[in-house]
């Protein structure tokens, strides 16, 4: 691990947010070509000729892999939420970042779509082997996807002034490698349940515990 002072976002860190992670004025395919344009066309920001055809071919291959080839010419607003997020993740990976940051990427999706996105993400992670850092409010999602789950909570809680004390790491679970696991594999379920129970116990045992505290 290297120590770097981070001042602004850069291409070594890919990111996907809950919303607004793709560019609405570009077609699905152009959303995947854009990162290449940023790299290869510093002034015009656009590719032409053979460079464009090469980027298009790469984009088409990526779209094939993430199951969006049939909507390559649509605009993002015409896609479902799950498709938009798949596009956003695919786009974030074009520049091959060292770390992928996911900020509640599946928070706005319906439960069924969310499950298929879990499979999608796990497959992607096994293929690439990159570090994925994901923020989630959903405990079961965190334990299903994570090899390590870090829980943030407020150890002190003033009901009169909820913002008085900040959040800190309250739990740190190392769930081990799940490279060989399918998303439905129950191997780690017991681990997860133990961990989830530990969090609940800790909440209950805390003096002046905050059962009604908003997740923050």
């Amino acid at each position: 691990m290297s120590t770097v002072t981070v001042r602004e976002p850069g291409p070594d860190r890919g990111v996907v947010f809950q919303r607004y992670s793709v560019f609405p004025h570009l077609s699905v395919r152009d959303n995947l070509i854009l990162p290449v344009s940023f790299r290869d066309a510093p002034i015009l920001g656009r590719l032409f000729g053979s460079a464009l055809r090469k980027a298009e071919a790469e984009a088409n291959a990526t779209l094939e892999r993430v199951g969006l080839a049939h909507v390559a010419d649509a605009w993002p607003s015409q896609l479902s939420g799950g498709m938009q997020q798949r596009l956003a993740i695919a786009q974030a990976l074009v520049r091959r970042p060292r770390v992928l940051l996911l900020d509640e990427p599946f928070g706005a999706l319906d439960p069924g779509t969310r499950l298929s996105m879990h499979d999608f993400l796990l497959d992607l992670w096994r293929e690439s082997g990159m570090t994925i850092f994901m923020v989630s409010h959903d405990l079961s999602e965190a334990f299903k996807l994570g090899t390590r789950v870090v829980v943030f909570d407020k150890p002190r809680w003033d009901p009169q002034d909820p913002s008085r004390y900040g959040a800190t790491i309250t739990h740190d679970f190392r769930l081990g490698d799940k490279k060989g696991e399918t998303s439905n594999d129950p191997t780690h379920d017991s681990d997860r349940e133990t961990a989830a129970a530990a969090i609940r116990d800790a909440d209950a045992a805390r003096p002046g515990g905050n059962p009604a505290a908003p997740p923050s």
């Binding site: 291409p11 992670s21 004025h25 920001g45 520049r95």
Partner: protein
């Protein structure tokens, strides 16, 4: 059924939309009849036939003195001023809107300055413009530009600020420079907003055009209206006002159509005015 749930069917929709126009016309005809009953040569509300005849003559017959067909000459002069003025304002508005919306340093420098500038009533500057630029085309074009540019800058700057921060962060993680974010992320998304903003500022633009033509010009729709006012020539003023209205409507309509055609991504969801 409640009144808020009653919707007109197709035929009724047409009738309702036409109703205010028909009533206005009717009010004119009746008023004109009453006045002409008292004085057959009334100039204030001339007979409809007389107005139509005059409008036809204006559009087809060359002027006896200059040999030009006045309506087209005036239209060309006015539209040219309007087009140049609005285009200049739009270009300045986009440039400064992008600067203010994207760069905090530019925003800190310019935002309050432009807020103050936009409070100056442009018509109060008209004498200054005539003194500085003379009585030719420049002063009129500059008045239009000066009049609507502050609004365009503020509106477009706001539109750029409304681009979700997530998009800007994402673009940076995809390796975009400030310049690339400006040209490939902000500018394309600003384009349909620019058309919207221009549509909104066309009203004031016409106002400034006609005001400057009224004071000093040799041709132009506003010039003609103010010229024939001296002869109480309502039969010229009314067709001219209607013609300006038609032009304004056509410009607005074509801008809306352009936006729909050129920026279909911005019109995918829902309708807008």
């Amino acid at each position: 059924m409640r009144w808020i749930n009653r919707r007109p069917g197709r035929p009724l929709l047409f009738v309702l939309a036409a109703l205010p126009f028909v009533l206005t016309l009717l009010a004119y005809v009746v008023g004109s009849d009453i006045r002409r009953a008292a004085n057959p040569n009334d100039k204030l509300l001339p007979a409809l036939e007389k107005v139509i005849d005059r409008a036809q003559a204006l559009a087809t017959e060359p002027d006896r003195r200059s040999g030009e067909i006045l309506l087209w000459q005036d239209t060309a002069a006015s539209l040219q001023r309007l087009a140049i003025g609005v285009t200049c304002a739009a270009l300045i508005g986009v440039a400064f809107g992008l600067l203010i919306g994207l760069f905090p340093l530019a925003r800190s420098t310019l935002a309050s300055y432009i807020a103050v500038l936009s409070l100056i009533p442009p018509l109060a500057l008209l004498p200054v413009l005539f003194l500085v630029f003379g009585l030719g085309e420049t002063a009129k074009i500059v008045l239009i530009a000066v009049g609507i540019t502050p609004f365009l800058i503020r509106d477009l700057g706001q539109r750029v600020l409304e681009i979700p921060l997530e998009q800007l962060v994402k673009a940076q993680t995809l390796g975009a420079s400030s310049w690339q974010i400006m040209t490939r992320v902000a500018l394309p998304q600003l384009a349909p907003r620019l058309i919207q903003a221009v549509r909104l500022s066309l009203g004031p633009a016409w106002l400034f055009l006609i005001a400057s033509e009224a004071i000093a010009a040799q041709a132009g729709l506003g010039y003609r209206i103010f010229l024939v006012r001296r002869y109480l020539a309502m039969d010229i003023i009314i067709p001219y006002v209607l013609w300006i209205t038609v032009l304004a409507f056509l410009i607005d309509w074509s801008l809306r159509l352009t936006s729909r055609r050129a920026f279909r991504w911005a019109h995918v969801e829902g309708e807008s005015l």
